[in-house]
């Protein structure tokens, strides 16, 4: 039994059994049990030099840079690996000659074989080795022998390069790959001074998270092919930004020079991405410099689009939309910042006078609209990443986090390591699920609702525990009854429900009310009080009362001549349902706001170029419902979507539409906390797929694919995973196929041929990884499978 005497202050403090009290450099401090000396010293403002230490990685105590003196211990101890204990007396380099000398020795050792080619090293200027050589080294070396050299550099992957002679063997990269990403494709090889990071002969470091190793490498040993030799850190201006690529919502740091982005890094954001991001977020920004950027307005004349002045384009757009007279539909993608999305919500209701608006891509359903309106829109923050980490159990439904929201995967891995049980209702036990040590609940595409309704009682019980979370991906919309079943499961068990869409702007668009039945903040169009409320905030006489049309209905209405004009923003052909071209062609008038020239732009009558995310200040709302503010790293003469809508509104007779991002956000904020009626949740019965010939396709879009936001970055593209066909052993046997055989999967509109991987796949299903949409369609369609060359 420990007796804690009252502290000297005179106040009797409750003794905290979970704290230990020690002295560091003569200063007494109390820290939670298990705290490492290096962290306790940091809290006192003492920076013990370090290389291998990283707060999010398990200690290795390999570099020995952090040696300090602990009274009673005969040798200097590594501060990064020894935990504090009661009564410990620690002396760092600040008060101990032994510690200072030990650190100087280690620094000298680290430098004997170091090339010291700082002038041509990417890390120069922001290098922990440079900095600590200054603080803890001795300015000169006594080593005058030949240094160890290696041919430089070698490729760990297409993107990540290694200059081995600069490596200090800190094992940060290898520990990150193993412990955080779960992609142990890099390892320390050889021994002694030949020790080096390497890969297996035929397995490159194709991890979605590989770029993080470059960032945490304490020297310039790891560099990226895309940034190597491009600039010096001291020439860069850093801007805090939010990632525009997915709904994980990473905080990034964008480094630019002469108005061009040179690189992006993960920013430290403990609540969201901790200190990591994915390679897409890190490397995919060259699209900004694409020669397909739109720089001036275009108007159609004699069947051709030609550059026009802003005045001319505004007049043309205003006339066209006025002529349509309320028969205009608005289609935005999920890539807009929330301020712009909100401006579309206002513009569509106030200027176009309609609720015909939808932000969702193809695959959406009325059931999904109801689900989102009832359970997600305007619900504010939560469940959060921290909730995942603290959850006893997490259920994944129609959601492959590694491809579809990579930071969710990292947090789930952290949770799983600490004991969270992860389960997935999925067509296959994916490698992502294996990384989570997860339990697979098999279900063919289309019958997930049934699977949820038939969950074993012990599984249901897991989700009855306080803190349990169900995460459902946007693909759930394509499986009838599934979102109904997900909602019911949460109602039944009390589990928190998280909807994880793909695109960075999806949740913001939802909160801004870009749905035909929804106003901002989760207010139903159908609710009179909600409409009055909305009109009041907008300073408008009224908002349209009739429910609008969703995207598929709008497109049909265009063909049926019930809608004559379309206003589109940030939408790509691939986002639209199959056959959308016919509707675009049939539309009498199409106005497009976009950053790039692509297929949809070619259908426009008037095109307005707009600023891309890094060219404006604004925010995204991530899957948690958390606002991710983003500052503006790049100057531009282009306007935001909101600004274009404001001037277009004025041209059409509605003056004063807000376009300042801060004011827009403040206005949207007024919509929060709605306590009135909600759209009622869907109640759609599951419709398991009819038996039929062939297998049911299961597929999801990969993290890396050839989209315009990922264009211009060949090194990143080269790390994309190769396409595979997964079959169960039984199915493969029936087909007479074995692992590695080329398999052709044929659907209604094309086929895909890729090598076979034997996997745990639900009976009757085939998984095609990579982008299979264009050729085969979405999950749930029937496909034929054959071994290549065997008819």
């Amino acid at each position: 039994m420990t007796v804690t005497t009252a502290s000297t202050s005179g106040d009797t403090l409750e003794p905290r059994p979970d704290l230990v009290t020690l002295t560091i450099d003569g200063v007494e401090t109390s820290v939670p049990k298990g705290t490492l000396i290096i962290r306790a010293a940091e809290q006192l403002g003492v920076a013990v030099p370090r290389f291998c230490d990283h707060p999010l990685l398990d200690p290795v105590a390999a570099c020995r840079m952090c040696l300090i003196e602990v009274e009673g211990m005969p040798k200097p101890q590594p501060a990064c690996a020894v935990t504090c204990s009661d009564g410990m007396v620690v002396k760092t380099q600040m008060t101990s000659a032994v510690a200072g000398e030990a650190q100087r020795s280690v620094m000298e050792f680290l430098l004997i074989n170091h090339p010291l080619d700082c002038p041509i090293c990417d890390k120069g200027g922001e290098c922990p080795l440079q900095n600590q050589a200054m603080t803890s080294g001795q300015g000169d070396t006594r080593f005058d022998g030949p240094k160890r050299t290696f041919p430089k550099p070698i490729n760990l992957s297409a993107q990540v390069l290694l200059d081995r002679e600069r490596c200090v063997s800190c094992a940060r990269c290898t520990r990150f790959a193993e412990q955080i990403a779960g992609d142990p494709f890099i390892e320390l090889l050889e021994r002694g001074s030949q020790q080096q990071v390497g890969i297996a002969d035929d397995v490159p470091f194709n991890s979605y998270y590989s770029g993080n190793t470059i960032q945490i490498c304490p020297v310039g040993a790891l560099t990226s092919a895309m940034y190597r030799f491009r600039s010096r850190p001291f020439d860069l201006a850093s801007t805090p930004t939010a990632c525009e690529h997915c709904a994980s919502g990473c905080s990034l740091r964008t480094d630019s020079r002469r108005n061009a982005v040179m690189r992006r890094l993960a920013a430290v954001d403990p609540e969201v991405n901790e200190e990591w991001n994915c390679d897409k977020g890190r490397f995919a920004f060259r699209y900004l410099e694409s020669d397909r950027r739109l720089t001036s307005p275009l108007v159609r004349e004699g069947g051709e689009l030609r550059p026009a002045s802003w005045d001319e384009a505004l007049v043309a757009a205003a006339n066209g939309l006025k002529t349509a007279d309320g028969k205009t539909g608005t289609v935005t993608g999920g890539r807009l910042m929330v301020e712009d999305a909100y401006a579309f919500s206002v513009f569509t209701r106030r200027v176009l006078g309609t609720n015909d608006i939808d932000f969702r891509p193809k695959g959406s359903s009325p059931e999904e609209e109801q689900f989102l309106a009832a359970r997600v829109a305007g619900r504010g923050l939560g469940p959060t990443y921290a909730d995942l980490e603290g959850a006893p159990a997490v259920l994944l439904v129609a959601f492959e986090p590694e491809d579809e929201s990579p930071i969710v995967l990292l947090r789930l891995r952290k949770a799983a390591k600490a004991g969270t049980r992860v389960l997935a209702v999925a067509p296959a036990a994916s490698r992502g699920l294996a990384k989570l040590d997860g339990t697979w609940i098999p279900s063919v595409p289309g019958s997930e609702a049934t699977a949820l309704q038939n969950l074993a009682p012990d599984v249901v019980d897991l989700f009855g525990q306080a803190g349990a979370v169900v995460l459902v991906g946007e693909r759930a919309a394509a499986s009838p009854g599934l979102l109904t079943a997900v909602g019911e499961l949460c109602d039944r068990t009390g589990a928190a429900l998280g909807w994880v869409p793909r695109r960075a702007g999806d949740r913001g668009a939802l909160d801004a009310g870009l749905l035909p039945t929804l106003l901002p903040g989760g207010r139903p169009v159908a609710d009179a009080a909600a409409r009055v409320d909305t009109a009041a905030i907008w300073g408008a006489a009224e908002v349209p009362e009739t429910a609008g049309r969703d995207l598929p209905t709008m497109l049909k209405a265009v063909e049926d001549r019930e809608i004559s004009a379309l206003l589109m923003a940030g939408v790509q052909l691939d986002d639209l349902p199959d056959g959308a071209e016919a509707a675009l062609r049939a539309a009498e008038f199409v106005v497009v706001l976009d950053t790039h020239d692509h297929a949809v732009v070619q259908f426009a009558d008037v095109v307005f170029p707009v600023a891309a995310a890094p060219e404006k200040a604004g925010s995204f709302v991530n899957w948690e419902g958390r606002v991710r503010p983003s500052s503006q790293p790049l100057r531009t003469s282009l306007m935001t979507d909101a600004r274009v809508l404001s001037v277009l509104g004025a041209e059409m007779g509605v003056a004063g539409l807000e376009s300042d991002p801060v004011a827009l956000m403040a206005q949207l904020e007024e919509f929060s906390g709605w306590e009135g009626a909600r759209v009622s949740p869907p109640s759609v019965a599951g419709a398991p797929p009819d038996p039929g010939p062939g297998l049911l396709l299961a597929t999801w879009r990969p993290l890396l694919e050839a989209t315009h936001l990922q264009s211009g970055e060949p090194y990143l593209a080269a790390t994309a995973r190769a396409q595979e066909v997964w079959l169960s052993t039984g199915e493969a046997r029936e087909l007479g196929a074995s692992e590695g055989d080329m398999i052709t999967v044929t659907g209604a509109s094309g086929s895909v041929t890729a090598p076979l991987v034997l996997a745990e796949v639900a009976a009757g299903a085939v998984v095609v990884t990579g982008n299979a949409h264009r050729a085969l369609g979405a999950s749930g369609v029937r496909v034929q499978v054959a071994v290549e060359g065997q008819g």
């Binding site: 020995r64 200097p76 390892e187 021994r191």
Partner: protein, 433 residues
């Protein structure tokens, strides 16, 4: 002191390595005696015997066994360290060749004591003959019901796995050995947790040297008092002393602790004819060298330490006046540089630097600064490395400087080969003269 052959008593019999040969002299009798005791009593017996680890560090064996938490519901493991790779150490391999059953019997008793049902014998990969001997002894033991289920009707089960290493000195370090055994690259693990709490597969594990484990059956048979009747209070018992180098009859001599080098030299037939002792290293290359003045130091942990060295593996290397001390130290450091696992900076970089400096001295192009530097660099490694390999690498040069500073200083102008004909120090000396 007399020779006291226990482990080596019957090495001169043609079938000493077979089960029959072992049994002829009471082999495996200790097993039944051990099974008649409670496991904790076996641990107490080994504690009472004062047996200390023969792998180099001399840690009390009974105490190590006592650290294993009991009733923790986890599997326990015994791992025998048969990686013997230290330059100069050559006792475990001969023991495994000539008397492998003493090891197997010791394994069963030790496993019974710590309540392990699976034991591993990790043998260095370069000695396939020893691996084969031990493997066949294990096979014989299984066939005779001395391993496997319900051994001798005791209700105790034990599986034994013989595992070959792949040739790395560092895999003799006990935690690196465990990583290697688990199929990883052999590098030492961060401690704590210690193997006794979280060793092989994160379960309580005892790692002991071959000789340590092989000594257990004789202690069980003859009692702790018998064992402590040899040696000193702090260093009881008998030991295999492997004498190598410039002696007439290099070999293994089993004698009580406290025997002197002078006695060992006598048994080994004295120095090579016509040569004088220059220096000797009492316990493998990792300990400081001693000289003629230390010939009467009793071979106990405490006495050798008082003389400024360490008992280590108890395998003296003997060098005569044909030896260049600079050359010898350089070869040792080349070994440590080659074997450094690379994990920690002081050892990885320090051994690289030391070899560069020593080679200059060896080739006669060194400087006084280089000599100072070698001492300094050694001091910069000692006590700062991750594991004891770094400390070992920091040992030879300062040890040599203590007695041979003048000779080492010659390296600032004269190559060692000009001072000491390399051939003269080998068995080829005089062959082509």
């Amino acid at each position: 002191m007399p020779l006291t052959p226990v482990l080596s008593a019957h090495w001169d019999e043609a079938d000493s390595y077979t089960l029959d040969g072992y049994r002829r002299h009471g082999g495996y009798d200790a097993l039944a005696l051990a099974f008649a005791k409670q496991p904790d009593d076996v641990i107490q017996l080994v504690k009472d015997s004062g047996l200390r680890g023969r792998g180099g560090a001399g840690f009390p064996t009974g105490m190590k066994w006592g650290f294993v938490p009991q009733g923790d519901g986890k599997p326990h493991y015994l791992v025998v360290n048969a990686d013997e790779s230290e330059p100069g150490a050559c006792k475990d391999v001969p023991l495994m060749l000539a008397n492998p059953h003493s090891l197997v019997e010791g394994v069963v008793i030790a496993s019974y004591a710590i309540r392990a049902n699976h034991a591993f014998i990790y043998i260095r990969g370069e000695v396939p003959h020893a691996i084969r001997r031990v493997a066949s002894a294990v096979r014989e033991a299984y066939a005779a019901g001395l391993l496997g289920q319900n051994i001798l009707g005791s209700g105790f089960d034990l599986e034994v796995t013989v595992h070959a290493g792949a040739g790395a000195y560092i895999c003799g370090e006990e935690t690196a050995l465990l990583d290697s055994l688990e199929g990883f690259r052999g590098q030492p693990r961060l401690k704590p947790p210690f193997p006794a709490v979280a060793g092989l597969y994160a379960s309580p594990t005892v790692v002991n040297n071959v000789e340590t484990i092989a000594s257990v059956p004789s202690i069980v048979t003859n009692g702790a008092d018998w064992y402590t009747s040899y040696g000193s209070e702090k260093s009881p018992g008998v030991k295999l002393f492997a004498v190598s180098g410039h002696v007439e009859r290099p070999g293994i001599f089993e004698a009580p602790m406290g025997t002197t080098m002078r006695e060992l030299l006598e048994w080994a037939g004295g120095m090579r004819k016509g040569h004088r002792l220059k220096f000797w290293v009492p316990g493998g290359s990792s300990v400081p060298l001693l000289t003629e003045e230390h010939l009467d130091v009793p071979y106990t942990y405490e006495d050798i330490a008082a003389a400024g060295s360490m008992l280590g593996t108890g395998t003296p290397m003997v060098f005569d006046e044909t030896t260049s001390v600079t050359r010898a130290v350089t070869r040792w450091l080349e070994f440590y540089k080659h074997e450094s696992c690379g994990k920690c900076t002081p050892c990885r970089e320090g051994t690289y630097w030391l070899v560069d400096l020593l080679r200059r001295l060896e080739s006669g192009v060194g400087s006084d600064d280089d000599i100072t530097r070698i001492n300094e660099v050694s001091a910069q490694i000692a006590g700062r490395s991750f594991c004891a390999l770094g400390d070992a690498a920091a040992t030879p040069f300062p040890g040599a400087m203590k007695y041979f500073a003048d000779e080492i200083a010659l390296g600032t102008h004269t190559a060692a080969s000009d001072l000491y004909d390399p051939v003269a120090a080998t068995v080829l000396a005089g062959v082509n003269a």
